[in-house]
Symmetry: C2
DNA sequence: TTCTAATCCGAGCATATACTCGGAAAAACT
DNA sequence: AGTTTTTCCGAGTATATGCTCGGATTAGAA
C-alpha cells in the first residue's frame, strides 16, 4: 500500500473496454464503488470489496483500473456528465424567460435536486476523498458552474441595471455553494429545504439589483 | 484494522497523564499528529508514524490513546480552545462599539485569521477526516459560532432596524462560512483576501439593514 | 532507603489490503 | 475450423498497519 502523493496518471484507466461484456463489467465496478462509498465511506472502499460487490474477480478489476483512485475518478466523471446534462437542460428551459428572480430559483432548485439525489455519495466524496479537488471532472465542474453564472449575469445585465462589484461573482458562487452544500449534507432533517432555497435565491437577486 | 463505524468512546483518552513527563509525551503526540496531518494527509497518519515523529514508543502511545481517532479528537479540542479564546477576546474588544459595519469586519477578519493560521491542517481535517462532524469539539464549535452570531444580531437590533427573516440566521451563517472556507482552503493564491473579506462583511451588513 | 505506582519501551503477532501472474474461457476475425 | 484477441479468474505474495505484552525505568510516597 502506497501512502502519500499521487500522479495524474493514476486517475486514468489502464485500457478501455471494447466489447459489450467488458463494458458491463466496468459499469458494475463503478456502481459497486458508488454503493460502497455511500454505505461504508471511503475507508470501506477496497479493491477486493469493489470486485466482490460488482460480481467480478479482482483480476478483472486490475485489467481496467490501476487502482481504486481511477474507479473514483470514473465515478465522478459520470456524476459530472449527469450534472452538466441537467444544467444545460435547465438553461434551455429558462433561456426564453427574462425574469431574473424566476430564473434564479429554477437554477438553484435544479442544482439542489442533483445534489440531494446523491447526497450520501456526495457527502463521502466531499468530506473523505483526499484527491477530489485534483480530479479532472471536479475542475471541469467548477469551471462549468462559474461559466453558467457568468453568462447568466451578462444576460441579466441586458435587462436590468445590475451592479457587479469586483468580487461579486466570487462571493456569490462561494456563498451560494456553501449554503447549498450545508443544506444538503449537514442540515438537520427538520430544516425545510424549499423555503430556504427560495430565500437564498431572493437574497442573490436582491444583491444584484440593490441599486434600483 | 477495523473498518466501518465508530462508537463515541473511541474519541476519549484511555487515561489522563498525571505527571509532567507524561503530559509532555501526550503533547508531543498531538503535535506530531498535527504535523503529519498537515504534511502528509490523513492517509499518512498511522499510530507508528505519530509515535516516531513524537519521539516516543508505540507502547506509550497506546497507554493514553485507544487509537488515532482519539488523537485527532484531542487535536481538534486544542483548536477549539484556541478559536474560542480568540472569539471571546474579539467580542470583548467590539463590545463597546456600536458600529455594526466595523464589528462585522473585525469579526470576519479574526475568524479568517485563525483559519488561515492553520490552513494546511484545516484542509485535511475538513476534506479527509471521516468522523470530523461527530467530534464533540466540532459540534461545540458550531454551537459557539451560532451563539455569537445570534447575540450579535440581537445586540444590533437595539441600535438599528434590522430585518431578520425566518431563515436569515441560517443563510448568513452557511453562506459566510462557505465563502471563508473557500477563500482559505481553495482559492488561488492570486486572490486578495482582505478586500474579499471586507466585501463579504459589507454584503452581510447590507442584508441586515436592507429596509432602511 | 524501601515500596508502590506511573511511565516508557519496542520486538513481534494478527490482520488487512494492494496487486501479480499463469492460465482458462469466450468472443471476434479470417 | 483455425487463429488471434479480448476478457475473466482467484489463489497467492508482499507489505503495511493496528495493537499487545512482559518487562525495564523513573517518579513519588512511606
Amino acid at each position: 500500500m502506497r501512502a502519500g502523493k499521487w500522479q495524474p496518471a493514476d486517475f486514468a484507466m489502464k485500457k478501455a473496454p471494447s466489447q459489450a461484456r467488458s463494458r458491463a463489467s466496468v459499469d458494475a465496478m463503478v456502481q459497486a464503488a458508488a454503493r460502497i462509498l455511500a454505505e461504508q465511506g471511503y475507508a470501506g472502499l477496497t479493491t477486493n470489496a469493489v470486485a466482490r460487490v460488482a460480481g467480478v474477480s479482482i483480476g478483472s478489476l486490475y485489467e481496467y483500473f490501476p487502482g481504486k483512485e481511477a474507479i473514483v475518478a470514473r465515478l465522478v466523471d459520470d456524476l459530472l456528465a449527469e450534472t452538466l446534462a441537467m444544467l444545460h437542460g435547465q438553461l434551455d428551459l429558462t433561456d426564453n424567460r427574462n425574469d431574473l428572480s424566476v430564473a434564479m430559483r429554477h437554477f438553484l432548485r435544479a442544482l439542489h435536486g442533483v445534489m440531494r439525489k446523491h447526497r450520501r455519495l456526495l457527502r463521502v466524496l466531499v468530506f473523505q476523498v483526499p484527491y477530489l479537488h485534483q480530479l479532472p471532472a471536479t475542475v471541469q465542474l467548477q469551471r462549468a458552474l462559474q461559466d453558467v453564472l457568468q453568462r447568466g449575469l451578462e444576460k441579466a445585465q441586458q435587462h436590468y441595471r445590475v451592479s457587479i462589484g469586483p468580487h461579486t461573482l466570487y462571493l456569490m458562487a462561494t456563498s451560494t455553494g456553501g449554503s447549498l452544500l450545508h443544506l444538503v449534507l449537514m442540515a438537520p432533517p427538520s430544516m425545510p429545504h424549499e423555503p430556504v432555497i427560495d430565500a437564498l435565491a431572493d437574497r442573490m437577486v436582491a444583491w444584484l439589483l440593490e441599486g434600483e
